[in-house]
């Protein structure tokens, strides 16, 4: 019997409530004190196709999906056909044999269990909508797993309106009873509630964490155009803006969005936009203007595979160089890559502070895998990072004529917001003098460029006290894995597996990609015996960045660029091959 180690997959057509039922299942695991990771996989369509959601639940911490599946809820035949090989020996498939006929030949395996539950019939008897079949199946899953149905009822009550909740509670009960009566004790995997001593945790996506942090940071204007996989930030913020004195505006284009946040930042609010690669392409001219005018919006780039439209609903890390270099000309910026839902929150707060303090654009680079997967994390400490708006004069300005782009020792010109008595605030996308008037003077242009780059020095210094890199695992190891962003989860899972087999590896996670934390990376890599870069791209952009800054060639690269995240076991195998 295997207790509290489960990988479950819900699959079906788009529109069948796959995401929702996977999420509900994850939530009941979370409420039972388990750690959960939930990931969705869907195609760029609204109906039909094949969608699935995987939930991994464990009494230990989990950082990613698993390579294999223990229990499948199949709402269509494709789910069985596509995922049967992922099923472990002794695994089971819950399905409706009245709806799905599957021959032994099609199944091709006799080491797994088929659990028929008359989903359609039950829903018909309850006179519920067809989409409720997934809740009936969840009830059956809970029965097979010997889990607590009461938790499910509570989650349903918290999720749905009373009438819908009641209908769903009945549906789960029917599924539960059917499975208990017909398949009692036929499944080796069990879930038990865990009495945790630690505080209740939360289950959150990367995008939600970023949105939540933006509110917490005092972001007052969010402007964006929908683009997968960044859209859920827009949805999230739009659903709560009225509670937080915020304006969330869907713009006509990404070009409008970036210019709008530039204007908002000039006016003096904290502001953010988010998009994916294609939208970021449209934003690049505006990004340069932000650099030139020393305004300070936060820009979230949620990557998906490219070039062009690529795989719209899948994941990749192909835009790192793009984020670092986007726009013509040269200007300082900060590029931050959170690796999990915890970092998504705290890094976003840091981004808002750094953007305003150094009057630069702050780019948070994430990807579909991080943005849309749910992870379990401690309840966020809402005051850990604090708010630092930099040098800002708010009430009244007096003294010499206010110079928005005043030359100072560290390049940072104290900010005064337009509307402040005694100050005229002028900025300019053209090269300008301290007052913001256009200039074409060669000396002044040089001086102004240098002024902006002095801020980079100041920023680099400030970042010394930030966790710009993280070393996971033992201080000394036989090999050092290097990565950035969402590969963190699978890498940490792979490390667990490798450590069980006696391999001694550690993992250098680079969180701040620009300015590159040269000395910190150097210090770690100096003692690294063997270096392995793991990335979701084709050209290993991180390797080239390390080479650029440290003149060091990494020993091995493990690259995946099929739109899917790394799976831990497969990654561990790839790492072993080069150890």
């Amino acid at each position: 019997m295997i207790i509290n180690k489960l990988s479950l997959l819900v699959g079906g057509e788009a529109g069948a409530g796959i995401n929702r039922s996977g999420f509900l299942f994850a939530k009941i695991c979370l409420r039972g004190g388990l750690n959960v990771f939930g990931a969705n996989d869907y195609q760029s369509l609204i109906r039909g196709g094949h969608n699935f959601y995987t939930v991994r639940a464990d009494d230990e911490e989990v950082y990613s999906q698993a390579d294999t599946v223990d229990l499948i809820i199949a709402l269509n035949k494709e789910t069985i056909l596509f995922h049967k090989t992922e099923l472990v020996t002794g695994g089971a498939i819950i399905y409706d044999a009245d709806k799905i006929t599957i021959t032994n030949q099609e199944l091709g395996r006799d080491d797994i269990k088929l659990i028929h539950v008359p989903l359609r019939k039950i829903v018909k008897e309850l006179q519920g909508p067809q989409i409720m079949e997934n809740t009936v199946a969840l009830g059956a899953a809970i029965a097979l797993l010997d889990y607590d149905l009461e938790i499910m009822n509570k989650v349903l009550k918290d999720t749905f309106k009373p009438k819908t909740a009641e209908l769903n509670i009945n549906a789960t009960k029917q599924g539960y009873t059917y499975a208990k009566q017909n398949y009692s004790d036929s499944f080796d995997y069990k879930l038990k509630t865990v009495k945790t001593t630690t505080k209740q945790k939360i289950f959150v996506t990367g995008n939600e964490a970023i949105g939540l942090a933006a509110i917490n940071a005092g972001c007052k204007l969010y402007a964006a155009y929908p683009m997968t996989p960044a859209t859920s930030i827009l949805h999230f913020l739009a659903s709560v803006d009225r509670q937080y004195n915020m304006i969330v505006i869907q713009t006509e284009t990404e070009i409008a969005a970036i210019n709008m946040v530039a204007g908002a930042s000039y006016a003096g609010v904290r502001t953010m936009t988010a998009t994916s690669g294609g939208g970021f392409c449209l934003m690049t001219e505006g990004l340069g203007m932000i650099g030139m005018t020393e305004t300070s919006p936060v820009i979230v780039l949620v990557q998906r595979p490219g070039p062009s439209t690529g795989l719209p609903t899948y994941t990749a890390q192909g835009d790192l160089r793009f984020a670092i270099h986007a726009s013509q000309g040269e200007f300082p910026r900060v590029v931050i890559a959170p690796g999990d839902v915890e970092e998504c929150f705290y890094n976003t707060l840091e981004a808002f502070n750094l953007a305003e303090k150094f009057q630069i654009p702050a780019i948070i680079i994430s990807d579909k895998y991080l943005a849309e997967s749910n992870g379990t994390t401690q309840i966020y400490d809402q005051n850990r990072i604090g708010i630092d708006r930099g040098q800002l004069i708010t009430d009244q300005y007096a003294g010499e004529e206010y110079k928005r782009h005043k030359f100072t020792e560290n390049g940072i010109s104290p900010r005064v917001l337009p509307g402040t008595k005694g100050a005229i605030v002028r900025t300019n996308a053209d090269e300008h003098n301290e007052l913001g008037y256009t200039t074409e003077d060669p000396m002044l242009s040089t001086k102004m460029t240098d002024k902006r780059f002095k801020k980079l020095d100041a920023l680099t210094k400030e970042l010394e006290r930030y966790e710009t890199v993280k070393l996971h695992g033992p201080k000394t190891a036989d090999a050092t894995i290097i990565g950035w962003g969402s590969t963190k989860g699978p890498i940490r899972e792979a490390m667990k597996l490798l450590s069980k087999e006696g391999f001694k590896v550690n993992y250098l996670q680079i969180v701040y990609l620009t300015p590159f934390p040269v000395s910190k990376v150097q210090a770690i890599l100096r003692s690294a015996k063997k270096t392995i870069v793991v990335e979701n791209n084709r050209t290993s952009q991180l390797s080239s960045i390390i080479r650029e800054h440290l003149l060091k060639t990494v020993d091995h690269k493990i690259l995946k660029y099929d739109g899917r995240p790394f799976n831990p076991e497969a990654l561990a195998r790839s790492i072993k091959e080069v150890l």
């Binding site: 940071a217 304006i247 210019n259 908002a264 502001t271 708006r389 996308a429």
Partner: protein, 285 residues
């Protein structure tokens, strides 16, 4: 009170002698004085082109943005701090070519700002190419055989996009233009003025004389500014007689009016401490 002297800047003007921009600049300064607006409370946003230099010539708050993007930039400023009077200046290529995509949206959103387009029907700063308001057949460096498609009609577009204030001025009639600007800035909602601005260097066709011979004032004809259909009809008048003045003026709720939680709120005043998000976190449990 703000005076012409207060609005002066140290920058040397680099527009061509006789440029229509001078009329627009003076009309704007006089409008600011007439309205009694404080320099600190007014923001001038400009795009790219000869008009863009407005930022250098009026000593008020200013943001000289990039080509075509005056409207979203100005929208961001206006939404963040509605206490600021935001006036956007754009060129015809700036707004009607590069920035055309923003035009209808800012108008239909009814952002509380003013947009003044310096419409010289040619690209000036890039030394004379056609724009979308260049007349059909207009020969320029980029169209040596004449412009092929018919010109855009910005006024009609503004009217069908539900514009709440739509007007046309002439740089050669500064006092009339000043009057339009005063009305536009006072207007609660999005006010749009297309200004005929003769380009003395690159538009040999649409000269001061050309305009003077054709234009007539709508208010002298008893035009009803609250009748959108009539306004639309007037916007199609082109040829021997071309109307200037207010085509349409009727207030409707602004974008901010539909945001009760931030209505008239200066959002820059709100963000000093971490905002408590406990209630959302609870839902994530």
């Amino acid at each position: 009170m703000v005076t012409l002297d207060d609005l002066k800047t140290p920058k040397t003007n680099t527009w061509c002698p006789g440029c229509g921009n001078f009329g627009i600049l003076m009309a704007f300064k006089k409008a600011l004085i007439e309205l009694g607006l404080q320099r600190e409370d007014t923001v001038l946003v400009s795009g790219i082109g000869c008009h863009g230099k407005m930022v250098n010539y009026v000593n008020i708050n200013g943001f000289h943005g990039i080509h075509g993007r005056v409207l979203p930039l100005a929208t961001g400023i206006n939404l963040s701090n509605p206490n600021l009077t935001v006036v956007g200046f754009a060129g015809d290529a700036d707004q009607y070519n590069e920035g055309w995509g923003h035009f209808a949206h800012a108008i239909r959103q009814n952002i509380d700002m003013t947009l003044i387009v310096h419409d010289n029907m040619v690209l000036g700063l890039t030394t004379g190419q056609a724009t979308s308001t260049s007349q059909q057949g207009f020969k320029s460096k980029s169209t040596p055989f004449g412009v092929i498609p018919p010109m855009l009609n910005p006024l009609a577009h503004a009217l069908v996009s539900n514009g709440s204030f739509v007007a046309r001025g002439f740089a050669g009639d500064m006092m009339h233009l000043k009057g339009l600007m005063v009305e536009a800035i006072k207007h609660r909602g999005f006010a749009f003025i297309d200004v005929f601005q003769p380009c003395v260097s690159f538009n040999y066709l649409n000269t001061y004389d050309w305009f003077s011979q054709r234009i007539y004032k709508l208010d002298e004809e008893g035009h009803d500014v609250t009748d959108r259909k009539k306004a639309l009809e007037k916007s199609f008048e082109w040829g021997d007689k071309i109307p200037i003045g207010v085509f349409y003026n009727k207030e409707r709720p602004t974008y901010q009016d539909s945001l009760p939680h931030v209505k008239d709120e200066n959002l820059t005043k709100l963000s000093t401490k971490n905002v408590d998000v406990t209630s959302i976190i609870k839902e994530m449990m």
